[in-house]
């Protein structure tokens, strides 16, 4: 009775009074946690959970005082219901949204299923003629011959919006030809409807072409002095499909990004493995148990390793992007640090797991610490080290595919920009490339590892 009353006032107090302090503390902690969580998320219905535990606790305390222990089913169930209920709400699970936005999904998945990696090979043929804008006192002849193709523009010069006649000979016959205006600094301007659409004219069967164009109104937009006569150009460009494919522009970026990712992982794994090897020996309990000094070295290195290991490489990268700037170097540093910490722990555990006998034998023969490591420790740990390192390399490749999202270089850097730009064909091709290298490396490293053990 008293126990029940005590627990009614303060959960757990009754249990403690009945001699079960630990149970009391757990009950108190559970009620407190449930109350805080429901208060924070503020949905009144969930307050039933702490209330249920509170009631159970009174009953439990009363029973305990009579020497009877109640099963903890009620409070555990109340906690679980509360955790999953609030969890559902907090993570905003909304299954309907999966189908509601099918249009959006299509606009993303459609292009992603047509990865922009390669395009058909094609051959281009260009020819051009100079035109002076505005007219100077002695404009040069507006004609030019290159690779057997001659382009002539009449008149030789003009002002904005003047109409010009373009004639060309020696082009590829019967081929659509793009006609463009090029300003002195190389800007290509469209000459089609409203100066917004491209102007395309087909060449004749004898390789000649005739077109009438207007000098674009913005041809002098970048000119330092609109009265100064300068050479502009009229460009004719023909394209013809060739057999086979070549990398598209984005395809090149994908290859470059993947290459950067692989090298990033290679450098980080190598530096990380070297660092881990140096730190693994002071972090191995069996090598460091000689006296209190070495033992404290052991504890400190272990602690540092545990702390660094608990920070994701992605977060370390954010810091180093600020320090060393955007790019793969920041990624290398971040992944190296993380690798040192996680390999250091695995290595040191491998060292702790070795057969102590040979160590004893080297010491008994008068060998020193370094000789002991070289002759008794190293031969025992090399296979395990190699296997852990390969495994880590595998993980590091995965990490370095996304480290670019925070500016750490590699394919992730391009991927992030394509997602922002909405270029989902390029996103699709980087997904394919990432999946491919991860699968291949997974296979290779697993194969190598089975050979080692």
């Amino acid at each position: 009775m008293i126990a029940g009353l005590l627990s009614l006032i303060l959960p757990g107090l009754g249990q403690a009074w009945a001699g079960r302090r630990y149970r009391g503390a757990v009950v108190f902690g559970a009620v407190l946690l449930a109350a805080l969580v429901t208060y924070w998320y503020g949905v009144p219905a969930w307050r039933l959970a702490p209330a249920a535990i509170w009631l159970w606790n009174v009953w439990d305390a009363a029973s305990l005082a009579r020497g009877q222990e109640r099963s903890a089913f009620v409070p555990v169930a109340a906690m679980l219901v509360m955790a999953y209920g609030i969890g559902w709400q907090v993570t905003q699970i909304d299954l309907a949204s999966l189908t509601r936005n099918s249009g959006r999904a299509e606009s993303i998945l459609g292009p992603m299923l047509h990865p922009d990696f390669a395009v058909r090979r094609e051959k281009t043929n260009t020819a051009w003629a100079p035109v002076e804008v505005p007219c100077g006192p002695h404009p040069p002849a507006a004609t030019n011959t290159k690779d057997g193709a001659t382009v002539t523009v009449a008149p030789d010069c003009g002002r904005l919006r003047d109409t010009l006649a373009v004639k060309a000979t020696g082009l590829w016959p019967n081929t659509p030809t793009l006609v463009q205006w090029a300003t002195p600094i190389g800007n290509r301007l469209a000459l089609g409807a409203g100066f917004a659409a491209p102007l395309t004219v087909a060449s004749g069967p004898d390789g000649t072409l005739e077109a009438r164009i207007q000098i674009p109104p913005n041809a002098l937009a970048a000119a330092p002095d609109p009265d100064l006569p300068l050479e502009h150009r009229v460009y004719l460009t023909q394209a013809r499909a060739e057999p086979g494919f070549r990398l598209s522009e984005n395809g090149r970026y994908v290859v470059e990004g993947i290459g950067q990712t692989l090298f990033l992982a290679l450098m980080a794994t190598t530096f990380g493995a070297i660092g881990a090897m140096l730190i693994a020996f002071p972090a191995a309990r069996n090598l460091m148990s000689a006296n209190w000094l070495t033992r404290s070295v052991y504890f400190v290195t272990r602690m540092v390793l545990n702390i660094v290991r608990s920070i994701e490489a992605l977060i370390i990268a954010i810091v180093f992007v600020v320090i060393v700037g955007l790019g793969p170097f920041a990624g290398v540093i971040a992944i190296t640090l993380h690798t040192i910490a996680s390999l250091g722990k695995l290595y040191s555990e491998a060292i702790e797991g070795i057969d102590q006998g040979p160590l004893e034998a080297v010491r008994a023969a008068g060998g020193n610490w370094l000789q002991m490591v070289r002759y008794a420790v190293l031969p025992q740990i090399v296979p395990a080290f190699a296997s852990f390192t390969l495994f880590r390399w595998d993980i590091n490749v995965r990490t370095s595919t996304i480290i670019g999202f925070v500016g750490g270089g590699g394919i992730g850097f391009f991927l992030y920009q394509w997602i922002i730009k909405g270029d989902f064909r390029a996103v699709g091709s980087s997904f394919v490339a990432i999946a491919l290298i991860v699968i291949v490396l997974d296979f290779v490293s697993a194969r190598l590892r089975t050979r080692l053990v």
Partner: protein, 273 residues
């Protein structure tokens, strides 16, 4: 001459494994240490070369205080004290030759040995040691591809690299079957005859009678007997091994035809409830 004076070892967890143990070993002796499991035999042998740090007492090797030596001085003293282990303590993945060479580490320069650069002389010595142990053709094999008896012979060859004046053997035959036990002990006996003092712990009394020139017995870390093997009669036996010790005739073990009673593997007494 090796003298052990008032040796006491208390482990950090409070176990006192040796209590005030004193004895001397003359050059050329084959001294056997007997005692029940847990009586402190391994602790005693490891205190002599300081693989275990004794709590009190001194160990003198030819008048030099081993217990006072530090660092390099201790490592140089250890070169004269070979050790043979119950579980051989070979690096299983390394070659037999490398294992044997590692017995020479106390003599070779650190840098050279780290790089694995052994002198021609050391390699010669290793081959010779293997030859003496009848393992000349096994040098290139991986240590764990050898049988137990062969591995223990590699262990002895490794010890020979130290050119030891004394060999500590901690139950060198406890992991081997009885027939192999004799083969190993005969190798030790041979070395002993060539002038190396041997200090060996053994479990089987018949082996003690066959090989020991003198015996000391430990019980709960205290030396309870010191004398000739022949002096261990039934009363002494029960004193050393306890009232409940059972004797089992080990008929499979060949014994020396010296008339000494065939003796026994000892079953430890049942632990008190």
């Amino acid at each position: 001459m090796l003298s052990v004076e008032h040796l006491t070892k208390t482990y950090p967890n409070g176990t006192t494994a040796l209590k005030d143990v004193s004895f001397t070993v003359q050059d050329g002796e084959f001294l056997v240490v007997i005692g029940l499991s847990g009586s402190g035999k391994s602790t005693l042998l490891r205190c002599i070369n300081r693989l275990i740090e004794p709590t009190h007492g001194r160990v003198l090797l030819d008048g030099v205080d081993v217990t006072a030596a530090r660092g390099r001085e201790l490592r140089h003293l250890r070169r004269h004290i070979g050790m043979v282990f119950q579980h051989f303590n070979l690096v299983r993945r390394s070659s037999v030759l490398t294992n044997v060479l590692s017995g020479r580490l106390g003599y070779s320069g650190t840098l050279k040995s780290l790089l694995g650069l052994w002198t021609r002389e050391d390699r010669e010595r290793a081959r010779h040691a293997l030859d003496r142990m009848g393992l000349a053709n096994k040098a290139a094999r991986r240590a764990d591809s050898l049988s137990g008896g062969q591995q223990q012979r590699v262990g002895i060859a490794r010890t020979l690299m130290q050119e030891p004046r004394i060999i500590l053997a901690d139950e060198p035959v406890a992991s081997l079957d009885p027939v192999l036990s004799h083969s190993i002990l005969r190798y030790l006996e041979q070395l002993n005859k060539e002038g190396i003092t041997v200090l060996c712990s053994l479990h089987f009394l018949d082996l003690v009678h066959r090989y020991a020139t003198r015996v000391i017995a430990l019980k709960d870390g205290v030396k309870v007997f010191e004398g000739l093997p022949g002096e261990i009669d039934r009363a002494k036996f029960q004193e050393i091994y306890g009232e409940e010790a059972q004797e089992v005739r080990a008929t499979s073990v060949p014994t020396a035809a010296t008339g000494t009673p065939i003796s026994v593997p000892v079953q430890p007494p049942a632990s008190p409830a």
